[in-house]
């Protein structure tokens, strides 16, 4: 029954998928609370410039895109805070600029570049050992940083003035959150692709919100749903021979619909009793 475990590419996809889904789920709780869900799309699309540059120059795409996405995240942050540009405008500006640079860079590339499609739409077959180790190593930095600075990020998320008055320098933790989100988004693009990655940042939180009673349970449920969506999506994509990224996202959407119906049923039951 678990024949997919015989294939090294599936093992790599499952390992990287579980690891990334934990990070995306956790970061997603902050992203959703701060109402900045659009940032996932912005950074992922803008990172096309980094991927295109790496492809053109023969560099490693993921580390190149991680560096570029971190720079984009910092620019978005400063545009939001230091200019009169709103968050969605700053993100849209960087999204379109990054994509335009990427498209122009790719126009210089001679010949067909099949791997590029895997960055756009995700393809688990292209996650090699180097990618897996890149994901585990770079992602571990985020996984270590998050619990250390969790309380401060949470405080500045919920009550920026209160956290400032408690002595916290909010900008440090805001930037940490932006850059961490950028890094994890880039790590996940081979799994789900530039086009679809922001869904994994938002859907698990949207499902968890329906059932959680505290932020702690919200975070735990989001991570559980995130891992569940990625695992089921990957297994379905294997058995149904469908593109992994789109299958993962649609698994999330299906779970969201089921969860919504279930939460409605629970509410009706509680009203009756």
């Amino acid at each position: 029954m678990l024949e997919f475990l015989q294939y090294p590419f599936m093992i790599r996809a499952l390992l990287s998928g579980v690891f990334i889904s934990i990070l995306l789920g956790w970061l997603g709780t902050f992203v959703v609370t701060r109402k900045m869900s659009f940032i996932g799309d912005g950074i992922a699309h803008a990172s096309l410039a980094g991927i295109a540059l790496a492809v053109l120059l023969g560099w490693a795409p993921i580390p190149t895109a991680v560096i570029l996405a971190s720079i984009i995240a910092v620019i978005i942050y400063f545009l939001e805070k230091k200019t009169n540009i709103s968050s969605d405008m700053a993100i849209a500006l960087m999204l379109t600029t990054g994509m335009a640079i990427g498209i122009i860079l790719l126009s210089f590339y001679q010949g067909y570049q099949p791997e590029l499609m895997s960055y756009l739409f995700g393809n688990i077959l292209t996650i090699n050992s180097y990618d897996l180790w890149s994901i585990l190593l770079i992602g571990s930095v985020v996984l270590i940083a998050l619990p250390i600075f969790y309380r401060k990020i949470l405080f500045s998320t919920f009550d920026p003035i209160g956290s400032y008055l408690s002595g916290i320098n909010n900008w440090i933790f805001d930037l940490l959150l932006y850059v961490s989100t950028a890094i994890v988004i880039i790590l996940s693009i081979k799994l789900v692709g530039v086009i679809l990655v922001s869904s994994l940042l938002v859907t698990p939180s949207a499902i968890a919100k329906m059932f959680a009673k505290s932020f702690k349970s919200f975070t735990l449920l989001t991570i559980i749903f995130s891992v569940f969506i990625v695992l089921i999506g990957l297994i379905l994509s294997y058995y149904l021979d469908l593109p992994s990224g789109a299958t993962i996202i649609l698994t999330g959407t299906a779970l969201f619909i089921l969860a919504y119906l279930f939460s409605l049923a629970l509410k009706r039951r509680s009203i009756k009793t």
């Binding site: 609370t33 003035i161 209160g162 008055l165 919200f218």
Partner: protein, 239 residues
């Protein structure tokens, strides 16, 4: 003297929000800031807590820059800008600020909530509280962290008359029992008259400063709000 505002001016680009404002607040005072919409009240508060820096002039708290002593200040905003559907319990919210051994102690949180008249809300979601209850949670958090100065930005906005009285009675009690210096931005002139010891009247510039019964006169109100405004007293007299 605790808070000293000296010749404060604040400009956003070419727009002058505050010009040459000066006043002093003693430790343990309960002071209201009044003025019409757009008069610079919130800008003044933001300068006092150190989020904004004066263009010219100075603000000191205990002789130091506000930013350097900001841990002494508790701030209760007019409304709380967060998605109310995000689940965070009152207990979690109260525990956000780390403060040594005392802050996160279950007993102290319950005690602080009881002090503001809120019992059994600890496990409730913050987003499920009413406006008045939320204001009291913010006050309880300030009590938990033993803030020396409490700043309220229009604390009764969107709250009914009973809730308004509860909040102002609570502010007065904290001021009297703990000696906490309280600074309140308010539009409610009758409340200001009843609860505060001093009032700062601003309309971009300083209009008056002193005890409310002396400085809130028809002339002051005319300067602040234009004609047709006054204090309501029983017997339907407009002063």
């Amino acid at each position: 003297m605790l808070i000293e505002v000296k010749n404060l001016s604040y400009k956003f680009n070419d727009f002058t929000a505050l010009e040459n404002v000066s006043f002093e607040i003693e430790k343990g005072d309960i002071v209201a800031i009044i003025g019409p919409n757009g008069s610079g009240k919130t800008t003044l508060l933001q300068n006092i807590i150190g989020v904004l820096s004066p263009t010219t002039g100075t603000i000191t708290i205990d002789g130091e820059k506000p930013r350097d002593v900001r841990k002494k200040i508790g701030y209760v905003p007019q409304k709380f800008e967060f998605d109310r559907t995000i689940p965070i319990s009152v207990h979690e919210f109260m525990s956000l600020e780390k403060c040594g051994k005392k802050g996160h102690d279950e007993k102290n949180i319950i005690e602080a909530l009881r002090e503001v008249g809120l019992e059994d809300v600890e496990e409730k979601q913050l987003g499920h509280l009413s406006g008045g209850q939320f204001q009291r949670v913010m006050i309880a958090r300030a009590l938990l962290h033993e803030k020396e100065i409490l700043i309220f930005d229009e604390p009764s906005t969107g709250i009914d008359l009973v809730g308004e009285k509860t909040i102002y009675d609570l502010i007065k009690k904290i001021n009297e029992d703990r000696g906490t210096t309280c600074l309140i931005v308010s539009h409610e002139l009758n409340i200001v008259n009843k609860y505060t010891k001093k009032v700062v009247c601003i309309n971009k510039q300083m209009v008056c400063y002193g005890s409310p019964e002396i400085v809130i006169t028809p002339e002051t109100l005319q300067k602040l709000y234009g004609s047709g405004t006054g204090l309501y007293h029983p017997h339907n007299h407009i002063h």
